[in-house]
Amino acid sequence: MAATLVEKIFSRRCGHPVRAGDVIMAPVDTAMIHDITGPLAVQKFREMGGTRVFDPEKVVLLFDHQIPADSLPAAENHVFLRKFAAEQNIHNLDIKEGICHQVVMERGRAGPGEIVVGADSHTCMYGAAGAFSTGIGSTDMGFVLKFGALYFRVPMTIRVEVNGAFSPRVGPKDLILAIAGEIRADGANYQALEFAGSTMEGMDMAGRMTCCNMAVEMGAKAGIVPPDGITWEYLRARRAVNPFSLTSDPDARFTSLHQFDAGHLSPKVALPHNVDLVVDVAKVAGTKIDQVFIGSCTNGRFEDLREAAEVLGNRSFHDSVRVLVIPASRIEYLKALRAGLIEQFVAAGALVEAPCCGPCMGGAFGLLAPGEVSLSTSNRNFRGRQGSAESMVYLCSPATAAASAVRGEITDPREV
């Protein structure tokens, strides 16, 4: 019987066929916790009677939301998790590596056919590596830490087919915003989003991560790109691989099919205060901005910083704008540093911060005062997400962020 990619992942992992709608207790291949959701997960693990985690090698533990510790409670949470890691023989990556999702990917901790959970909603990003990966709460994570397994209802899949070539200064972020605008904030609730088509096949891993990262903004349980040569090559540089084929059958049943022509896309922004309020940049061009944030698990990779730097050129950022550039990880930071991008950003007037979640976390730094407007390459623009409930956050691509930071107002990157 024809099966979707996601049904095949669960079937492979279980050793017998399962279908969308089936409820199964499935083994977990990697479990990720960080400084915000980790302490509660550990507390729940202990309340459940947990003494030893199921497999310390399968746990990724790091701090990225509030680093370096920005308050005493944050510092205490870090100490709490350091002690837990030491007690359980879990390799603690601490504050050194960067944003959890980027780190899981670049260390090859998610791969085709694997089931990965993280105590963070943007865990859906590892679908870029062909894994079924999903965000869970701390109590579910406590259960995973104890048993190494979790209840899943195998989801139905919505297929998104993207064909054609992007025009200049248009890319994966514009695409995923356009998709969110069509599918809407709850249009993929409880389902998986499969991204396929010639555009996805030609897209680099950074772009695939951007797309899968935002699957949850449509309510999706997971985003996934069928693994191909690009996926296996990315993994081969990080771990031993044994490539196999993993795609949806041609006659698999999808809930719906959405088709996009990449060649017809213009730069997009999501308006305050919902990710699915998506319009062409041109429609809000000229809107004054106070802060620009280039970074996050959505768009803090080398490819994103390079795109922003290309738009910037040898100009300076506008005097009235605060520009925060935060690479997604130490490794991405080093790539940008060696390519001269960091020097270019600093010379142009940006503040370059060490890899972390930054303003996207809405509690660490870079907060917005009432009435302030931010343009951000991150994934959420909910009311109050980056500070005051009276502030406004627009979401966009790195190219649009850089162009707008140069002009001091929302700007179509094709115009600078």
Binding site: C14, I36, G142, A185, G219, M361, R383
Partner: protein, 165 residues
């Protein structure tokens, strides 16, 4: 007991802003629930009050601080047209009861609401509205008052591979 009515797409940043995520105590979290978007909630909410919302309640982050803040405020039941997936599961795990009701929009703010989980309906203003049953595999967790109590007495689970873990 009263209802607190909310609209569609109420996100977890609205339920508990990011700056309070260093806190894990439900009562302290409750004092910041809906801060900035509905300040009177934390001030006036009483034990047993019910939240009624539109579509996609609890969308966004996986922060369990959100259902904990509501539970710390004394809320035990949330009625909505639909819930975001992670919030729904988190709510059940921490002992809150999320009820899906297609007619949630018809219930007004501040009204009294009778909830009959046994027969699967709610009653407001003399009218009855059906609520959907919680999926069977989660009902056991609801009955245990949350996942911690459910898991406490389990020494192992049987996975779909047939092995114990």
């Amino acid at each position: 007991m009263r209802t607190w009515k909310f609209g569609d797409n109420i996100d977890t940043d609205a339920i508990i802003p990011g700056r309070y995520l260093v806190i894990y105590d439900p009562r302290t979290l409750a004092s910041h629930a809906f801060e900035g978007t509905r300040n009177e909630f934390a001030r006036d909410v009483c034990e047993g009050d019910i939240i009624v919302a539109g579509r996609n309640f609890g969308c966004g982050s996986s922060r369990e601080h959100a259902p904990l803040a509501l539970s710390g405020a004394g809320v035990r039941i949330i009625v909505a047209r639909s819930f975001a997936r992670i919030f729904y599961r988190n709510a059940i795990n921490v002992g809150l009861l999320p009820l899906v009701c297609n007619d949630a929009d018809k219930i007004s703010d501040g009204s009294e609401l009778v909830v009959n989980t046994k027969d699967g309906y709610i009653e407001s203003g003399g009218k009855r509205y059906d609520v959907e049953p919680v999926p069977a595999f989660l009902q056991e967790i609801v009955d245990a008052d949350g996942l911690v109590e459910y898991a406490r007495n389990l020494s192992e689970v049987k996975t779909c591979t047939g092995s114990q873990s």
